[in-house]
Point group: D2
Chain length 399, copies 4
Amino acid sequence: MSEKINEPVLTNRNLLDRFVFTREYTERLVEFLQVEDFVIQPTLFVSPPKWHLAHTTWFFEEFVLAREDRYVRVNPEYAYLFNSYYNDIGSRIPRIQRGMQTRPTVAEVFEYRKRITESVVEELLREQNNPDNATLIELGIQHEQQHQELLLTDIKYILGTQYLRPGYAQDVFQSGTEHIPVTTEEYISISGGVYAIGHEGNSFHFDNERPRHNTLLSDFKICDGLVRNADYLEFIADGAYNNPMLWLDEGWSWINQHMINAPMYWEMKHGIWMHYTLDGLKPVEPETPTTHVSYYEADAFANWQGKRLPTEFEWEIASEHFAWGDRWEWTCSSYEGYPGYRAVPGAIGEYNGKFMINQRVLRGGSFATPNGHSRKTYRNFFHPDMRWQYTGIRLAARL
Amino acid sequence: MSEKINEPVLTNRNLLDRFVFTREYTERLVEFLQVEDFVIQPTLFVSPPKWHLAHTTWFFEEFVLAREDRYVRVNPEYAYLFNSYYNDIGSRIPRIQRGMQTRPTVAEVFEYRKRITESVVEELLREQNNPDNATLIELGIQHEQQHQELLLTDIKYILGTQYLRPGYAQDVFQSGTEHIPVTTEEYISISGGVYAIGHEGNSFHFDNERPRHNTLLSDFKICDGLVRNADYLEFIADGAYNNPMLWLDEGWSWINQHMINAPMYWEMKHGIWMHYTLDGLKPVEPETPTTHVSYYEADAFANWQGKRLPTEFEWEIASEHFAWGDRWEWTCSSYEGYPGYRAVPGAIGEYNGKFMINQRVLRGGSFATPNGHSRKTYRNFFHPDMRWQYTGIRLAARL
Amino acid sequence: MSEKINEPVLTNRNLLDRFVFTREYTERLVEFLQVEDFVIQPTLFVSPPKWHLAHTTWFFEEFVLAREDRYVRVNPEYAYLFNSYYNDIGSRIPRIQRGMQTRPTVAEVFEYRKRITESVVEELLREQNNPDNATLIELGIQHEQQHQELLLTDIKYILGTQYLRPGYAQDVFQSGTEHIPVTTEEYISISGGVYAIGHEGNSFHFDNERPRHNTLLSDFKICDGLVRNADYLEFIADGAYNNPMLWLDEGWSWINQHMINAPMYWEMKHGIWMHYTLDGLKPVEPETPTTHVSYYEADAFANWQGKRLPTEFEWEIASEHFAWGDRWEWTCSSYEGYPGYRAVPGAIGEYNGKFMINQRVLRGGSFATPNGHSRKTYRNFFHPDMRWQYTGIRLAARL
Amino acid sequence: MSEKINEPVLTNRNLLDRFVFTREYTERLVEFLQVEDFVIQPTLFVSPPKWHLAHTTWFFEEFVLAREDRYVRVNPEYAYLFNSYYNDIGSRIPRIQRGMQTRPTVAEVFEYRKRITESVVEELLREQNNPDNATLIELGIQHEQQHQELLLTDIKYILGTQYLRPGYAQDVFQSGTEHIPVTTEEYISISGGVYAIGHEGNSFHFDNERPRHNTLLSDFKICDGLVRNADYLEFIADGAYNNPMLWLDEGWSWINQHMINAPMYWEMKHGIWMHYTLDGLKPVEPETPTTHVSYYEADAFANWQGKRLPTEFEWEIASEHFAWGDRWEWTCSSYEGYPGYRAVPGAIGEYNGKFMINQRVLRGGSFATPNGHSRKTYRNFFHPDMRWQYTGIRLAARL
């Protein structure tokens, strides 16, 4: 039996509410930006906010509305400009040129959003709508939620790497702030055995969370709190960034090539470690969970502690026993398909499977993740050198 | 006797008018831009329009206003953000990061312009103003005029290299358009002999136009019209871009490495050569002077014709006998100091002298050059691979 | 209980024979090289043959002989020149400069080999030798065997990528040639269940083969023969290198960036696919197992067949049921430490653990692997774009 | 009237002697190399000694012997491997791959040399030989002499940039050593006026030394001795490498990008400046002329002294009044064709003209220049960042 992307139990009514809320929430997130901030792409992996707004819109146009033959696109060029990576759909602008397009303007992109939002709402209100569309609209909502988090981390990068370090805002996020302190650090022991892993039931999930399958774990223990900045400052003070014996070979090359000596967004000012946050440059807070570390740094930190990172399976099983959701937690699991995984045919199948190489799984979520978007079986993934997301470290060890 | 930068004969009153006009004209040139267009830097040698607006303003603040000790800067960070290349003044943002700064915003830059313009006007109206300031304000005007041309060519690059190829405008330029046809192509004969070269008299000129000195020319002839697109289309049709024997060795490498087969902004559409102009994408006009060619292309074209490019000295002497000012004309002269040239001490000395290496002199001017900015002794200069300026080709030969 | 690198059951006598044989076999492998061939490094991942000869020698000098305080090194500079990647030992020449050192000469390197070989033989013949040394000499032998295979694949690269494509030799290899045909292609079915994985017992093994541990497998089937060139030619003919839907995203970028359209060393001549082999350029043989493919290609081939690559655990369990050893077989397993794995402290711990990122496990061996060097629990590993080793493809699928 | 490459007054007999001597002298220069040293290419602008030996041979085969239709080439592949830059002749190996070819071997290259030398000797001994061939053989001799100097400077680079810094030899050079001290530093005054520049008469010269033509000079003075290391050590001690005001803009970028703080081959050891010479690493000698400086450094040094570099015309006129030939002396003249210069048609025309861009003229010669090869009208040329030749500095100034 083949995996389905999702099996929505929602009525169209529920879906409509969630659709409208999601579209509005994206716009709320960019409320404090200046027009100028919408345009630039300071590095390959960051996209201009304008692009996120248009791409999430194109996703609905392409996968929902344009399924009808008689549909007339808002602008046929947009398929080229706002396709991200779907080879099945056709050619697209090279990623590195996203920040070179000043047109369409921000106002035109908002107009595009408005028209597509209205068309999807009409589709959802229609009595006999296309039954597959509900599935695809749900996927579009989930997709837009993913981009909401990317939007915030890209905004942070855009503002936080420019010379004037302008702050952004505090009060647009559903899920609190990046300043919530860690309050516990006890180790929880979990017995080994055969455990079922992966999504269960009919609620929405991505194809990479299935098939649900058994896996065999050994006894292990895992910390109920994340690594705090106070811990990480000790790691730095102990000379960790100068000690090759703590690092993966590629990590050691990476910190030397890029002259890295602290998490991203940290900078030493007059002898004090400062940290750029979405509300501006602040002294590093000892009690908040360390963030913006690469896998290399998370792994080196664990080595320095004589511990290790959990596997994604250990994390999933143990996650009942601790609070999570403040940071995306690096696991030591390579991002692979679960036994029996197969991508669905066509463009939608390009969503997850083709990225299953050279990436590590992160579990949990962050304060920038939209409410209800993540779950314990959710598998986020990034290359080991990426750290502009709200990554964090949870330690584990053998019993 | 040392060279002076200029010896203004203008009263402050004249200077005031020209200053105010120059500041306003800059702003007129960006009238049709969207805010988004002000921000990006699609390649190293292009600067964001916002940057030009601020940099020309900083020039007055730094070299005129800040000479007074008690002057309080509008924003002390601007000296770092808007210094272009003056090492004597201090550190500055790496050129490649000009397009990464969304702040200050366009509105803030206009506010900065307004405040500096007002302060300079006050300075000029003051009864006993600093006598050196008139000289520096004149230099600032000339400097801003240079940036007016760069602004237009950078705007062309920003709009003309993006996917949607938006047009700009026709009616903001003092000096006509890029579409004026070539109407003559007669060769003028000039007898050899000793000729005086370089600026004469007290009117404004740059230090690189002096000392006026004698040079010895042989007999030569020079065409009174520029090379037209019709001529250049023949050159292409004759396979010139595939014939190494026509090219300088570096030129041959350059066209192959960058896969160049036509002037910049030319593209073949459905078998027709199109040309992006400031008023949009148009079919190439046979009679208008070829533009956006590199020195390599100009030199190869001349070889193909069995002719050569003129030296800058031949050009200066012959320029009485033909109309010029539609294109910056590549000469075969390397950009060097005239005999006895010496840069003035301090930051102002960085204006010209330090660039006297690996560049070719261009003479004349273009429709994008502000009225009155150029003159027959004016020496523009670019590296031989640069072609986003309104460059053109005039042929010469031995008699 | 911590893992030991190995627990040799060999007497010193046996070890002596194997040591002497290994040292001689290395030299036999380079017998047909010209002095010139020993020097160059055509790409970062290839080392000059001279370097392999010296590095394997330095390994014995550093880890066995130099453990004695009074030992006088043959040349103290060699530690800098011939250390590969042991940070614990000190600084070393950047990898990219290995091919820039013409000195010591080949003759001097052979002299160095001779002196170190003699010293180690003396150590082994000494009645009361250092008991740890036997362990380290065994490791040195295994290490040199690994370099014997690298030596052959680097020689192939050095000769096979130069303009004249000189052949090497056929008759120096213990284990046959690269031309042995595939004779079977039946699928073997294996039932799921809990299986023990990893090295068992006291014979030599690397630290990455331990701890032996249980893993849970589902039912699967696996082919008893490798993919042949005839199969791969069909894959090419079917347009696979132009079909993005078959490829991992990074694989698709990789083939496009490097303009790859066939396995390494394949070239089309007059309409016929030729293959450079150690005995020269030959038409591709349909029946021999495809080799010099990257992980990306192996994975795309499996997709095209509607199959998949086996995991390294499936491979280890199934390996009793088929012949292996002609090609290193890509598995879909990421190279990670087994549960409870920990690198030993010090330089020897840098042997395996620090490479456990972004690499895939290969199982089996190739005709270039020295006799007795590999075993069913042996874990070779390379980045997914590497293909200058004798890699190959074995298919698997769900039952 | 078109320029001829040369108008030899030599009889064939004289030519034969010079040919044979030149061929032998090349081989004498590599006498102390190890086979390994012949192969590598440590950087793009250095060629393997083996390549020089073969390329100079190919030049005679291609331009002299192969002019006869029935000539059978030693190996038809050699035209591809040993053509340097003659597009008119056909495709060739990319320059960067010269050091990747271990075949033909050094012995095979010597065999190739022997066969071509014999064939050219036969041609010269033949009673009715091709009259054009004498001209081309003379050009081949001059060409090989140029490569003799490149051979020595490339050998220096190959040995002097490797870790062990092996020395080469002292006693193979015709023209002394690099250690000859500077003994005078008086300024000579020259009056301005019209002077004839360029080669006069029928003896051998390159096409770039003609047409002889008049040029107009102002009064100037020029030093009769070269800048010594003692002078250059003061320049360094005065912080010149940290003072942007002394440098051309590109020079300042160049020293910062490459972290340059001294001439090439200088290194500080235990607080003493050492200098790698062809006879090994030695303390910098205060009295010998500074060498291995780029144009940027020569220009900055002159600025620091309040002087300038001479033009190539000043140099040619003044050269009667001082000794020269120890270092190639940077002039401030851009390398251009003389008025009326035109490259001859065909491959021979690629010898000089196509390099007339972005290079500076050097005049004089060095101890590594073969006896009789240079003359006062000889124009050497390099890019301003090149410094592996025996470059040096002579100062000039206005009167």
